[in-house]
Structures are given as structure tokens and as C-alpha cells.
């Protein structure tokens, strides 16, 4: 019941926050130099003023800014995100088209990095000071410090150009028309490199966080108390150390999860992954206002959604948090 109240309260706040974000983004985007009519006209390689004026009218750019904003917000309230003139499609369709690809990529990266990070962190903490620990933390440091695009380029050079094990880009073999298990395998093969590229950095972060946090918590007074009470080492690890040590990891995971939609621009570009990050990037270059606003809106909604999820997970791991919030 308490959780339900929490969720409802947060949802109400979320709607207001989203509305504020829409309005703020609207003004930010319109403040950038360059307008979509000029870009589209530029792309044609020839344009006169009549043509640009026609485009402006089509986009509604000839109207005062507050009228444009009003129309946009009114549309958003009716789940109409407008029309993309660069892509010649309704923005909502465009986003729904691209969202699955991005979610597949980022959730895979998220899941793998969280799982591997925590497991390796646990392993390193269990053997602290030994060579396994040094090896794992050394690896983590490497992934932590290496820029994403370099990892991407090197993995393409190694696994796809040299070894020819994995495809270099795309999300499926174009024109192969696979079905069933073959299709799944084909998609998985395409998923490996981008997901690793995207996940390695966060894996390193989770790993270091888990390890450090475990070591810190295991020195705390309540753990000593538990030992003094004569609890078994197993119970102490699970109930006392791990629960408390995982809280900072959950915080970070919540942050990463919030970026699931908007955070993969670079990876999607290098691997030609037809997702929403690339859509955002292309739309920015073309000043495709409606699409940009749409992507921002969806990303913001995701961030808020995962914040709520994180809060719930917090309460499940550590009931004291909920009690504190209620009082």
C-alpha cells in the first residue's frame, strides 16, 4: 500500500516535470542557430526565397514562437508528437520504430554489465589482495579508462576485419530474410560488439563499486556486532554485508538505466545501429525540432520511470528507507 502511494505521488510529479522539460527543451532548441527550412533547402543544393518560405509555412515556422509552443504542448497532451519533415513521418511512429532496437542494445549492455560487474566485484572482494583481485581490478581500470569509440574501433578491427567472426555493423544480415532460430542467432551476432562496447565501461564501474563497497561495509560496527552474536558467516555476508553494499550500485544502475534510451548515440553511429540515439543525432544536425523534442520527451520519461523503479528497489533491499520517507 505504501508503495502504491509512493508510485502515485511520483507519477503525479513526473507529469509536471515532463511538461516543464517539454517547454524548456522547446525554447532551448529554438535558441540554436539554424532552422529546418534552411537545412532542408541547403540539402537540395539550390533554393530560392520562395522555396524556403514554402518550407517555413509547411513547418509552421512562420508563426510566433508562443503559438508554435502552444500547438506543440496541445499535441503532446493528446499523444501527438508532431510530424518530422526531415524523415517525412509522424514523430511518434518514427520513435516507436526505432525504440525497440535501442532498448535491445542498451538493455543487453545494461544487464550484462550489471551482472558481470557485481559478480566480478564479489569475486575480487572475496580474494582481496590476491592475484585474482589484482587481475580483475586491473582489467576494470583498463575498461574504465579507455574511451568508448576506441574500444568500438578496435573491436571491429579485431573481431570483424581480422578474425571475421562477427559482423561490423547493422542489426541483422540485410536481405538474408532469416526466420526463427536463425534470425535470433543472426541478431545476437550483430548485438555482441555494440553491446560490449556500450557495457564495458559500466561493468568496470559496477565492479569497482561492488568491491569497494563490500570491503567498506564488512569493516563496519554492525557487521562486527553480528559476528559477536555468533551468526554464521554466510548469513552475515548475505543479509548484512551484501544488502548494504549493493545500495550504491543500485543508485548507479538507476542512473545508467535512465540513459537506456538517449545514451547510445556514439555506439549506434559507429555500428550503424538503427536506434533512437542516432535518430536524435541526425535530427539535431537537421534541426528537426519535432523529432528532437519527441526523443527528448521519451528519454526524460525513461529517466523518471527508472528513478521510480530505483526507489522501489531501494525499499526492497533496505526497508528502513521506506520507513524514513513515510515519517
Amino acid at each position: 500500500m505504501a508503495i502504491l502511494t509512493l508510485i502515485l505521488g511520483r507519477l503525479a510529479k513526473a507529469v509536471i516535470t515532463l511538461l516543464a522539460i517539454v517547454i524548456l527543451n522547446f525554447f532551448l532548441i529554438h535558441a540554436a542557430p539554424g532552422d529546418p527550412a534552411a537545412v532542408l533547402a541547403g540539402e537540395t543544393g539550390a533554393a530560392d526565397e520562395i522555396y524556403i518560405q514554402q518550407l517555413r509555412e509547411r513547418f509552421g515556422l512562420d508563426q510566433p514562437l508562443h503559438v508554435q509552443l502552444g500547438k506543440y504542448v496541445w499535441g503532446v497532451l493528446h499523444l501527438d508528437l508532431g510530424f518530422s519533415y526531415r524523415q517525412q513521418m509522424p514523430v511518434l511512429d518514427l520513435i516507436l520504430d526505432r525504440l525497440p532496437a535501442t532498448l535491445l542494445l542498451t538493455m543487453t549492455a545494461f544487464g550484462v554489465s550489471l551482472l558481470l560487474g557485481v559478480i566480478l566485484g564479489l569475486a575480487a572482494a572475496a580474494r582481496v589482495g590476491k592475484w585474482t583481485d589484482s587481475m580483475i581490478t586491473g582489467m576494470a581500470l583498463l575498461f574504465y579508462a579507455t574511451p568508448l569509440y576506441w574500444v568500438a574501433l578496435m573491436s571491429v578491427l579485431l573481431f570483424s576485419v581480422q578474425l571475421e567472426w562477427l559482423p561490423a555493423f547493422g542489426y541483422e544480415t540485410v536481405g538474408a530474410d532469416y526466420t526463427g532460430i536463425q534470425m535470433v542467432l543472426d541478431r545476437l551476432k550483430h548485438l555482441v560488439l555494440p553491446a560490449l562496447t556500450l557495457g564495458l565501461f559500466f561493468m568496470a564501474v559496477y565492479l569497482r563499486m561492488t568491491r569497494a563497497s563490500l570491503l567498506e561495509v564488512s569493516q563496519m560496527d554492525f557487521v562486527k556486532t553480528a559476528r559477536a552474536k555468533g551468526l554464521s558467516e554466510n548469513i552475515i555476508r548475505r543479509r548484512h554485508i551484501l544488502r548494504n553494499a549493493l545500495l550504491p550500485v543500485v543508485t548507479l544502475a538507476g542512473l545508467q538505466a535512465g540513459q537506456l534510451v538517449g545514451g547510445a548515440v556514439l555506439t549506434e553511429t559507429v555500428f550503424a545501429w538503427p536506434g533512437i540515439g542516432r535518430l536524435m543525432f541526425d535530427s539535431l544536425a537537421a534541426r528537426d525540432y519535432n523529432t528532437l523534442l519527441g526523443v527528448f520527451l521519451v528519454s526524460a520519461a525513461m529517466v523518471i520511470f527508472f528513478n521510480i523503479v530505483t526507489d522501489i528497489v531501494y525499499r526492497l533491499i533496505d526497508p528502513r528507507i521506506g520507513a524514513g520517507a513515510a515519517s
Binding site: A32, P33, G34, D35, P36, A38, V39, L40, A41, G42, E43, T44, G45, A46, A47, D48, E49, I50, Y51, I52, R58, Y85, R86, Q87, Q88, M89, L94, D97, R98, A101, L153, V156, L157, S160, V161, E164, P167, A168, F169, G170, Y171, E172, V174, G175, T269, V270, F271, A272, P274, G275, R278, L279, F281, D282, L284, A285, A286, R287
Partner: protein
Amino acid sequence: MKKLLTASVLTIAAACTAQAQQQGGRLDIVVQPEPPSLMLGLVNNGPTQLVAGDIYESLLRYDTDLNPQPSLAQSWEVSEDGLTYTFTLQEGVLWHDGESFTADDVVFSADVFLRETNPRLRVSLEYVDTITALDDHTVEFKLREPFGPFLGVFEAGTMPMVPKHIYEGTNYSENPANNTPIGTGPFKFEEWVKGSYIHLVKNEDYYLDGQPYLDEVYYRVVPDAASRAVAFENGEVDVLPGGSVENWDVPRLTEMEGVCSTGEGWEYFAPHALAWLNNREGPTASQEFRQAIMYAQDREFVRDVIWNGFGTVATGPISSKTNFYTDEVTQYDYDPEKARELIEASGYDGETVRILPLPYGETWQRWAEAMKQNLDEVGVNTEIVATDVAGWNQRLADWDFDIAYTYLYQYGDPALGVSRNYLASNIAKGSQWNNVEGYENPALDEKWAEAAVAVGADARQAIYTDIQKEIVEDVPVAWLLEIEFPTIYRCEIKDLVTTAIGVNDGLRDAYIEE
């Protein structure tokens, strides 16, 4: 007798090649950036034309010497006074939905649809008085006054034929058929997975027997230049159209086994790189200063190092690849000493000169840096202004620059693609494809106009030679390089580039040799 002989030799040669052409196969071609739409009548940027050039056709094509060739028109006649153009259309041409293509479609496309939607054609159509269908297969264009380059506007990107039965009386830009383009071309639209690829399949009912040879074409969207190079190396794509990869990757790729490249297929566009110089204000308003910019630049270094040897140093406004070029003009060879003298003479006071690079990739960035260095060496204070494409457009449209890089297409004739950049009547804020530099020279304006309507190539050449001599003295813009964009492809692909617009012209003649 001699005439007969050549004719029969030609027939035999044609028959031989016809036998060698194999049916079937698939091509994967890079397209970048993703086209906004495939409706060539509404959008005619490069990527759209690359893909939609397979779907839509026009009345003529142009060989690499810019001579008109039959396409949807099998023959044409020009009256002696240069006022009446009569086209006889191919018989048995069908739209992709099965309807017949007739003269009515030509009239609708040129006189109704494109007049509204294509700003570039609209300018040429000002010379046209009437467009009439004489019968189902004959169309007559009557001009108000002779217009020299008129036979040059029937290229698919400029005047694509659009189906009257689908578009007549509709709101063109919102017609749902735009998403499933219907043309007469050798390939039909099959599927477009946004962000990934566009799939075209062979048009089984194409009017040329046995053509096209290929079964299907995939246009692959790969946003990153390095990834495009890898895709070609890996064999995932077979053709890299000009400009798909950064120049420094070109030698590496063309040295691979079984890889060919050609610089042909750009003659119609003849991309001419230049730097707009702001003629209105600042140091660049002085003619001496502008001449100094020409002398200060080591353009051969740029061609050899930054463009990896591709391209030709430009001598003036008209490309040597197109008609009516002359090299009898002042040559601005690299001469820093002369540049310094001219800068001194111009009364330059050390003001910072803003250079706006073209935001189209690394090569252009490096080029702006080279210019900066060259100008710094002769004592000009420069600053490179970083922008993205939209910001660049905006600054040019607002005339907010000192020196700005661009490249312009010449469209086969000075009257179509060159004069627009220098006519005072073309000065208009808000558009970046006109006289952006703000050059005003009434005497030359008259000559440009005279050359456009002069009858006969010799008469036109004489005027254009005159214009080039004069304008090169004025340096309203800095002419830099005739750019070459090599098309890179696997050698077993034959007849990929056969016309002056290359891969953009549709793949009706291309085939794969086993």
C-alpha cells in the same frame, strides 16, 4: 561507303557487349546520409537522387562529354530558331503500378508539378512559353526566347517524370504515395527500413528488353565514415559512391585486390570548391585583398595532401570539366610575396578574418586549417569559426562571415550552375545558393544574360571567355579546386558509371561479370 562501314562496326560492337552482359545478382551500395524522402520531384538532394535515380527517369541522359542521350525520349528535334523542342517518347513505357506513361505525364510533370516544387527548374522554365502534348508520344516545348542550355535540363534530378494519375489535384507534399514512389525506372521500390537500408527490385516490365540486368539493389545507411570503409573492406557493400569515405581512406581501399575506382560520373555536376568572400564589408571587400587571398594559398599542396591528389586546381568560375571553359585568364599561382604586397596595398589594418569551414567531414576541416596557415603566413589574422551544418546555413543566409567554404554544382552549363552565383539580381538574404558574397557588376550581369540566350556554341563561347577573363580579375570568390569524388567499386561490376551523373543515374546498364 565510309559511313556505312562505321555503322556496321558499331552494330557488331554493340552486339558483342550485349552478349557479355550477365543477368542477375545483387548490389549493396552505401548511401549517406539517409535520404529524407525518395520522391525525387519533391526532394532532390544527393542521397535522394542516388537512390531515386533508379526509380524515376527523365526525358534525357547525358554522356560523360555532356552530350544528350535518349532516355524516356527516344529522339528530339530543335527548330532552327532555337524556340521549339519536340520530343518523341519511347513506346510501351509503364509506370511501376502498370499504368501507361504518356505525353500527358510529361506535361503534368514539367508544367504543373515541378514548376511548383523544384526551384532550380523553375528558373529555367521562365524561358518556356508552352508545353503541349501533340499526341500520346510527342511533346513540344515552345520557348519565349532561345535558351542555350535548354537541352541540359532534362536530367532525372532536375526534371524527373512524376505520374499524373497519382499526383494530379492532390497536396503533393502530403500525398501518401510519396512513401511508395512510383516511377518508370529500371528498379522498383520494395522496402525502406529507416536507419538501416532501402531495398529496390528489378522492374520486370522495363521498356528496354532484357534490362536491367541486376535482380536487386540494397542502399545501406552507414552513418560513420570509418565504418563505411570497413563495410567495403569486409565485402558487405560493393559500391562506395563518391564522397562516402574520407579521402585518406581512398588509396588504401583502391589498392585492395579486385577493387576499381573511377573519377567519371561527375561531369554534369562538376563540383567546384570555392570560398565565398564577403564583398560587402571587412577586409575582403577590397579587391586587392581578395587577389591576395588567391596568391596566398598553396592550392597544389591542398590537392596533393588534403585531397590525396584527387582534383584539379581551379582557374576561375567555370569548371574545366564543363562547357565554355577557358584557361586564358590571370593565373593565381602560389606567391606569398605578391600576396603580402597586395595586402599592404589594400590598407588591411590587422582585423580578424573569420573563416567558416564546410561542416561536411574531416577533409574540409583540414582544408580550412591549411588556409588559415597560408593566410597567417602573409600577415592576415584569421580565426576558424566552428559550426554544424545548420549553423553554417544560417550564417551564410545572414551574410555573417568573411570567408566561407562551399562547393557548387555547375549542372553542365554556366547559365544553369555558374551565373547564379555572380548576378546582382541573385542577391537575397535568407538563401545560401545565390550570390551570397554580394558581388555587383552590372556590365558582367549583362554579359551573363547575353550568353544564356545567344544562339550557337561559338557565340556563347566568345561571351563566356570574355566573362571569365574579367571576373577572374575581380575575384568575387576564391576559386579553389575542381573536386573529384572517386567512385570505388568491385571490378566485376561493369557499366556502373556510364553517364555524366554516374551512380545517380540509375543502374539500368550495370551488370556483374562472374
